[in-house]
Amino acid sequence: MEQPTAPSTPPERTRIVLAEVARRNGDHDRARADLAEQTRVGDALLRGLMRAQLALALRLAVVVGVGLGALPLLFAVAPTTGTVKFFGVNLPWLLLGVASFPFLVAVGFTYVYLAERNEQDFIAVVRRPER
């Protein structure tokens, strides 16, 4: 906020936009400026976030790839697994028809949780670079 120049005269009207106030907060916002202006620091920060998010996504994709993707191979290599029964239902039917869906949702839930945490970490670094 600007101080009025003299108390007796009415203050000059200043148009204040919230974003400008936020930007004027100066020093401790350097990281954000670094990001916006793409200095080397900002670039490194962004690359770090992207790497973290991509690594997370790839790791969970591998979990699904192994968890579900190995099934056709398993059934082909060891056909006897197909004849195993639980509750009178053959194992492949249970795994594919029922169990796969909660499994996918669980992986998705994990991803959302961890990806948001990565973003919170990123925001924390950007907002408080010194600490």
């Binding site: 916006a36 793409q38 670039d43 992207m50 996504a57 869906f101 998705g108 839930f109 990123f122 925001i123």
Partner: protein, 555 residues
């Protein structure tokens, strides 16, 4: 079939769709309302709408039909249809929303600033949209002729007309409410009859779904032959049958095999893998790849992401969709399995897509309860055609109005077209698939949809994934990859639909192309981008910042 409740049920669903559409029309006042519902749709509504839009005829009718025919191996369809949302969540959801792109062509423009690439993407969006629309309309024809005996073309025309009118008048805002309503309708329409089916099966003393000595007819049945075929009777003898011939079977008779219908039987149906060995495994993996990676490239799915307020909301929406879709896919399997017991005659006629419609009547009987359940299922099926067709049509009309019409009226591409443009585009986008549906031979709904997934997986999936995560992507690389992978997949689709019948490896490679076209697209895209490194957009860092930085930083 004579069921007094079916026609009122279908009329009610159609009227409800139109009514909600008009209610939305009153709310839709601006172009922004029209195209993106002004981004005021909450994640729950949005997720139900995405689910409603996604669960098409292929999910509602097709999966159960395929399971009835081929057994455990096609369970990969529902698993893949659901898992596609996980891939979308992991690699695309939040960055795509943050990119601000409304359609795939928009994304090309935002990321690579190439008009030519934009046009190419538009062409693929329209192709995939129409490829996906045709089986929806054919499914409508099949449903109406199965449950009311009306001529085949009537259903396709009815759905085509209602959807085109609704999209043209109501736009996106109206569609969101319609879709959300239809998700819950579809779930109910399968879940309630499924409970009765299970109770009935239990009361029947749980007849085996894959008896060792072959399937039998549960009651006296007369099958009318439609195609010339060779019938293999249980005693090993065979005889030829001609179209129009009536084959009477009495209860307890074994179901013969027909040469015109390709279906698995006995252990082959119950257990994974089939006689073709390596080719079967290849086809399975190809299907997995197509469905896992194809969802993110479907035009009607992407359009929805822009209606989320921010990237995190896009993520949460996708997770809810995954759960809703997964919940739904528990049901079609049940219909396919019980269809073996109660409607084996479909294995003779080959119209297995009708199993969901016929099963309630066949199992519960033609009393009032059976008729009500059959009407509920028919209403759900209509909801499926209406909602996915609406979503597809909205997105196809969206790209036509922004990229073709806006260009023609010299407003420049990328500018939001006017509401009038959108309406004209909706008409054009609706007429073409109706004409195709009436003139192209009918295939298994799920198989055609599977091909649409393969095309999406080999064109837009690499474009999105590399565009979001790799700075080195260039417009030339992207175009080359889309042309190579997507072009190969389109070629495979055309071969399947209109080409000569193939056998052996060529048939497998063409019927399930994703396992070779997806890696091809990725490889070409990366290689050409590396070769044209100088064409990397100058502002790639800015774009990446926009795609990946959380909105709360307000950069």
């Amino acid at each position: 079939m004579d069921n007094p409740y079916v026609v009122p049920a279908i009329v009610a669903v159609t009227l409800a769709t139109v009514a909600i559409g008009f209610y939305g029309l009153r709310l839709a006042r601006t172009t922004s309302d029209f195209l993106v519902a002004s981004r005021t749709v909450s994640p729950t509504w949005n997720a139900a709408a995405i689910g409603g839009e996604y669960l098409s005829a292929a999910s509602f009718l097709g999966i159960a039909g395929l399971i009835l025919k081929y057994g455990v191996d096609v369970l990969w369809y529902p698993v893949g249809f659901a898992a596609g949302y996980l891939a979308l969540l992991l690699f695309v959801a939040a960055p795509l929303r943050r990119s601000g792109a409304f359609t795939l062509p928009d994304f090309c423009e935002v990321r690579l600033h190439s008009r030519r690439l934009r046009k190419l993407a538009t062409a693929f969006v329209v192709f995939i949209g129409w490829l996906y629309l045709v089986p929806q309309l054919q499914g409508a024809g099949l449903t109406l002729s199965t449950v009311t005996g009306a001529p085949y073309f009537l259903g396709a025309l009815l759905v085509g007309a209602v959807v085109t009118a609704n999209v043209a008048l109501g736009g996106m805002r109206a569609i969101t409410f319609v879709q959300a309503f239809q998700y819950w309708l579809k779930l109910t329409a399968l879940a309630v009859p499924a409970m009765f089916l299970l109770l009935h099966w239990q009361a029947d003393g749980r007849p085996a779904v894959a008896p060792a000595d072959g399937l039998t007819f549960p009651r006296d049945t007369v099958v009318v032959v439609e195609d010339r075929a060779v019938l293999t009777l249980p005693d090993g003898s065979s005889r030829e049958v001609a179209p129009g011939e009536e084959l009477p079977f009495s209860a307890g008779d074994q179901v013969p095999k027909v040469s015109s219908v390709d279906a698995s039987s006995g252990l082959d149906w119950l257990l994974p893998g089939d006689e073709s060995g390596d080719r079967g495994l290849f086809a399975t993996y190809s299907l997995i790849l197509a469905t896992f990676l194809g969802t993110m490239g479907l035009p009607h799915v992407l359009v929805r992401f822009y209606t989320n307020p921010d990237g995190s909301a896009a993520r949460r929406t996708t997770l809810v969709v995954l759960a809703l879709v997964g919940l739904f896919y528990l049901l079609p399997t049940l219909y396919g399995v019980l269809g073996r017991v109660y409607t084996p005659q479909l294995l003779l006629t080959g119209q297995t897509d009708a199993v969901v419609l016929l099963l309630p009547g066949a199992a519960v009987g033609n009393g009032v309860l059976g008729q009500l359940l059959a009407a509920l299922v028919a209403a759900g099926a209509f909801a499926a055609f209406l909602s996915s067709s609406s979503g597809l049509l909205t997105s196809v009309a969206g790209v036509i109005s922004t990229d073709v019409l806006a260009h023609a009226s010299d407003r420049g591409p990328g500018q939001r077209g006017s509401v009038r443009d959108f309406r004209v585009a909706a008409l054009v986008a609706g007429l073409v698939p109706v004409a195709l549906a009436l003139n192209v031979a009918s295939l298994d709904v799920s198989q055609v949809v599977g091909l649409a997934f393969a095309v999406a997986a080999s064109s837009f999936c690499p474009l999105l994934v590399l565009g979001i995560w790799w700075r080195g992507l260039t417009d030339a690389g992207a175009a080359a990859g889309v042309l190579a992978g997507g072009g190969a997949a389109v070629g495979a689709v055309l071969m399947t639909v209109v080409g000569p019948p193939l056998s052996g490896w060529p048939a497998t490679l063409v019927a399930q192309p994703a396992a070779w076209t997806v890696p091809l697209a990725f490889a070409v895209m990366v290689a050409v981008s590396m070769a044209t490194r100088r064409r990397t957009p100058a502002d790639v860092s800015t774009t990446m910042l926009r795609l990946h930085a959380p909105e709360s930083l307000r950069l």
